[in-house]
Amino acid sequence: MSQEIDQTPDTEEAATGGLASRGRLLRGRAWGAPVLVVGGLLAAALGATWLSREEIAANLIERELDSLGLEARYDIVRIGPSEQVIRNLVIGDPARPDLTVKELRIATRLSWGLPGVGRITVVKPRLYGSWHDGKLSFGSLDKAMAGGGSAPFEMPDYDLAVEDGRALIDSDHGRIGVKLAGAGELRDGFSGELAALSPVLTGGGCTTGPATLYGKLTTSAGKPRFAGPVRLASLTCSAQDLRLGKTAVQLDLTLDKALDGASGKMELAVGAVRYGAQKLAGGSGSGRFTYRDNALSATYRIAGRRLDTPQARLAQVTLEGRARSTGGLARFDIDADLTGREMALGSTVDRALLSAQQTAAGTLGAPIAAQVRQNLAREMRGSTVNASLLVRNSGDGLNLVVTRGSLKGGSGTSVLSLSRVQALFRGKGRAPRVTGNFTTGGRGLPQAWGRMEMGEGGRIAMNASMADYRAGTAMVGVPRVAMEQAGDGALSFNGQVVLSGDVPGGNARNLLLPVDGNWGADGRLAVWRRCTDVSFDALSFSNLVIDKRKLTLCPARGGAIVEGRPDNLLLAAGATSLDLSGHLGETSVRIASGPIGFAMGGAKPGVIKASAIKVALGPADTASHFTVSQLDAQVGKEIAGTFDDADISLAAVPLDMRQAAGRWRYANGVASIEGAQFTLVDREPVARFQPMIARDATLRLADNRITAQALLREPASDRAVARADIVHDLSKADGHADLAVDSLVFDDKLQPDALSRTVLGIVSDLKGVVRGTGRIDWNARGVTSRGRFATDGVDFAAALGPVRQLSGNIVFTDLLGMVTAPNQSVHIASMNPGIEVTDGTISYELRPGYNLIVNGGKWPFMNGTLTLDPARMQIGAAETRYYTLRVAGLDAADFVQHLELTNINASGVFDGELPMIFDEHGGRIENGFLRSRDPGGNVSYVGALTYKDLSAMGNFAFDALKSVNYRKMEIGLGGSLSGDIVTRISFDGLSQGQGASKNFITKQVAKLPIRFIVNIKAPFFSLFGSMRSLYDPTYVTDPRVLGLLNSDGSRSNGRPDATINVAPPAQQPAPAQSGAIQPPVSEKKP
C-alpha cells in the first residue's frame, strides 16, 4: 500500500489511512471463455475462504500490517463473512501513536469468487504527521508509504468511508488540523468533505493569518478532485514587504491518477494587498491551470480594484493571459493583456513634476511643468491603459517584454504608447536593460518619440526627439537627442535642445543649445566638453534685448562647461570675444568684448570676468560710448562686482569720464555704481576746463535713466570744487547736470588756472572764496548751460594791476561759453593800475568768445566821481585797449587832503576826461584834461618855508604865488600811469589870493591877463611825494634803508651821482638827477 504524496506543499495529505494500497494486489483481468472456468474455481475457493474468514481477516490485517512492518495493536470485534470490524487500532508508539482508529469496518465481497475487500469504513481515525524541511512523515507509517515501484502511481482501489477522520500535521510552517469525512470508491466515485485549518503558517519569510480549506473531495476515474474554498485571513511577508488581506480561493483541483499532475480552475478573491509601495484595494480573478510533468500551464483573468503604485493609480486593472512554466517555477513565462481604467498619476510622478515646477520657478521650466502636470491630470481622468506584456523568467534574469502598450487619455488620444519594449532585470542592484520604442502624446501634452536599442556588449543606445512644446510664451523642443549607456551604466548623450521663455535673469527666444556630455557610472556629470555654438533669436535681460546671434562658448581648459555631481554642479564657460547688438529699451546698443569668462557652482556665488568691453549706446553718429578694460562680478541673488579703467562718454554730454573704476551692482532691473572714481575731461578740442577727479561717485541706471552724483575735485590740491548731480535719459539722449560750488577757496594751493586754462594770465594770484550754482542742460538739439556765482571778496593780480576785495555775483546765461546776462555788476574795494582807485563798481557783460563789454564803472574820487565810459575788451588777447575816464566834481581841497599835503590849500571843483590806453606794457593817459568849474578857486601854500637859500627872485615869486586865485585852471595830463605823468597846469584870471603879500607890482600884475602855465613833468606819484618832502623830514626814508649809505653812514659803493638827462622814451622812465631838492622818499599811508 503506497501513496504518492503530491509535492505541492500546500495540498494536505489525504487521510485515507494506510490500507488503501492493499486492494491493488487483488484485481485481475477477465478474459472471455477461460473466465467461466476460472469463475467456477473461484466459487469453490470462495466458500472455503468464507469459513476461514476470521483467520483470513485476522491474518489479512495481520499479514498486511506485518508486511508493512507496522507494529499495531487493535481489538478485533467481529469477523463476519461480509464484514470485519476492529476497534481501537493504534499504530506507532502507543504513547505517541501515529494513527489511531476508533473503529475499522471492512466489508468483504466476492468479486469473481475471490474474497474482495468491499467498503472499508474508518471511524474517527486520528493521524499524526509531521512535515519538516519538505519531508512529510507519519512516523512509523512512513515505511508503509515507501511502496510503489516504478509503475506510475495510481489511487488505491478501495471503497473507503471515513467518518470524522482527523489528522494533525506538525510542520515547520505551523500546525495544520485536517478533518475528512466521506465515502466512496477511491478510484472512482469517492465523495467526501475535506477541511483543513491552521492558525498560522509561516514559510519563506511569510506568515499567514488563520487559514482554512474546506471543500468536497471526490474522485472519478482514478483522479481525486477537490473543490471548495481556501480562505486565508492574511498573509504577511516582511522580507518582500508583502501583505495580503483576506483571501478566498474557490479551488477546483483535479489531481492526475498518479498524483504527479493536476489541473483545475480557481476563483480568487483577495482583500487589500500591499507589496512594497504598491497597494491594491481588492482583487478577484479566475484561472484554469494544469500542472503535469513539472510544467504548469494556466490561463488566468485577474481584476484588481484601485491599484495604487507610486508611479500610477488605476481604478480598475485587469490582467488576462496565459502562463507557462517548466521545471517547477524555475523557468516560466507569462503573457498578459493588461487593461486598466481610470488611471491616475501616482504621487511620485506628480511630486516629481511639482518639484520640477518649483525648482524651475522663474524660468520657462515652471509654466511647462505646470501645464504638463495640469493636462496630464486632466487626461488621466477617464484614461484607459491596455498593454500586452510578456514576462519570461529565463536563465539569466526576468525579462519583461511589452509587445504593445498604450495609455489612452480621457480625450481618447494616446498619452503614452510603447512598442517592442524589452526590459531585462538581472537581479538586485544591477540596472535593468530596457529596449524598445515609446511615443508620448495626449491633448496639451508633449509629443515625443524615441527608440531604444540593445547595443552589443550590453550597451544600450537610445535616441529620441520631442516636438516643440509650448506653454504660454515658454517653449522647449528636443529636435534630437541620442543617449548611449555603456556596459558599466555610464551614460553619454548628445543632441540639441531649443528653448524659449524665461531663463535665470532674463528671457530667451529660440535658444538653440547643442547638448553633449556624459554621466559617468560614478555619478559624475560632464556636459559640453568642447567649444559649443549657441544661437538664439533674441536674449533679453530686463530691458536689454540682444538680437539674433551665434555665440561660441568654450569650457575652461581640460574641463567641461558643466561638470560635477548632480547635486553639486560647477559651471564654467568662456568666450574669446563677444560681438552683440540689440536694444536697451528703445536705444540701439552694440556690445563687443575681449575674452569673457563665467563660472558658478558649489556654494559660492557665480563669478564673471570680462576684459576690453566696448559698449556703444544709441545710433552710430550720436552714440554714447562705454569702454571698460576690466570688469568682474559675482553672480548670486544679484550681480555685483568691480570695473576698472573704464572710459564713459555720453554722446550729448560734452564731458567724458576717463579711468573710471568702482563697484557696480545689477539687481531687479537696476544697475548701480558706488565708490566710483573717475577723471572728468572736457571733450572740446580746446578744453574749457582742466580734468577734475571724483571719488565715491555714485551712479544708477534704471528704466533707461542714468542718475549720478559726484563731488568733483581739482587733482593737485584735491580740493572739492563742485558737487554734480547728473540725470541723463538714454533713450531720449537728454538730461541735465546741477553743479553746486559750496565754498571754493582759492589760495596758493589752488589757482583758477588749475580749473580752466582760459583764465591763465587774466586772473593771477587769486585769493578768496567763491560759491555758486551751475546747470547744464543737453538734448538732441545741443547743450545749454547757466549759472550764478558770487564772492564776498577776492583779491587777485590782473594785467591792469592788483585788485583788492572784488565782490558781487555774476549770472551766466551760457556758463560753459562764459556768457553772462547783461549788466552784471561788481564792486572793487581797491584797484591800482598805477593810481589806486577805491570803492569802484563796474557794470559789465561777457559776450560769446570771451568778449568783455564794460557798460561803465564808477568810483568816488576826491568827493567827485570817476566814471568809466563803456568799453570792449577781448579777454586773454594781447591787444591795446582804449578807455575813457570822466572826472566830475573833483574837489581840489579833497584832493590835497587825500594826498595829505598839509601845507597846501586848494579849492575849486574840477571836471575832466582822462583817455587811457592799456597795452601789455601797462596803462597810460593821453591828452587827459581837468578843467575847473566857474568861479574857479584858490591854490595857496600855507606851510612855513623851510629852505632859506631860495633866491630873491624865488622868494619874490614864491611870496607872490603863495596864494593864487584863479578864475579858470586847466590841467593837461599825459604819460604812463605807473611812470611819469606830464602835467600842464594853466591858470587863468589870476589874482593874488588872500594872504599873499601884495604890493604895488603884484596889484598891477593882478590886473594883467596872465595865464600862468606850469609844466610839471614828474612821476605823477612822486610829484606829490617830493612836494611833501619839502617840508616833512619824516617823510624821507632813511637812505641807509635804501642802500645808498652804508650802515655806518659812508656812501655805499653805488654808482656816484651822475646827472644824465635823457629824453624819456615812450615807456621808459627817465629818471635823471637834477635839481637841488633832496630826493624825498616816504611811505605813503593810504
Binding site: 594785467a799 598805477g834 601797462g922 605823477f1020
Partner: protein, 100 residues
Amino acid sequence: QRTPEYAAARAAGQVGEQRDGYLGVVSGGADISAMVRDINNKRRSVYTSAAQGKSTIEEYAFTTGCKLIRDTKAGEKYQGLDGSWKTRGGGAPELDPRCP
C-alpha cells in the same frame, strides 16, 4: 621756486627778461604767452606794492629789470638796448646805462 613750465621756457630761451622788469615772449605759442602774462601780472602786483612811497611802479620795475638781466644765466634771453633779444653769454650782459 619757479614752476617747471617757467623754468623750462627760460632754459629753452622761449622767454626773456625785458629791460622794463617784465618777462617777454621770445618764441612760443599761446600757452607760453598766457604763462608770461600770468607771471607779469604777479610781477606788476609785487612792483605796485613794493614801489609804494618809494618810486613809481615803472622805476621800481626798471631797477629790478636791471638786476634780473644782470642775473641771467648763460643761454637765457634778455632784451638788448636796441630792444632786440640777446642770449646771455659768458661775459656781462649789455645793460641800460641808467642801471645802478
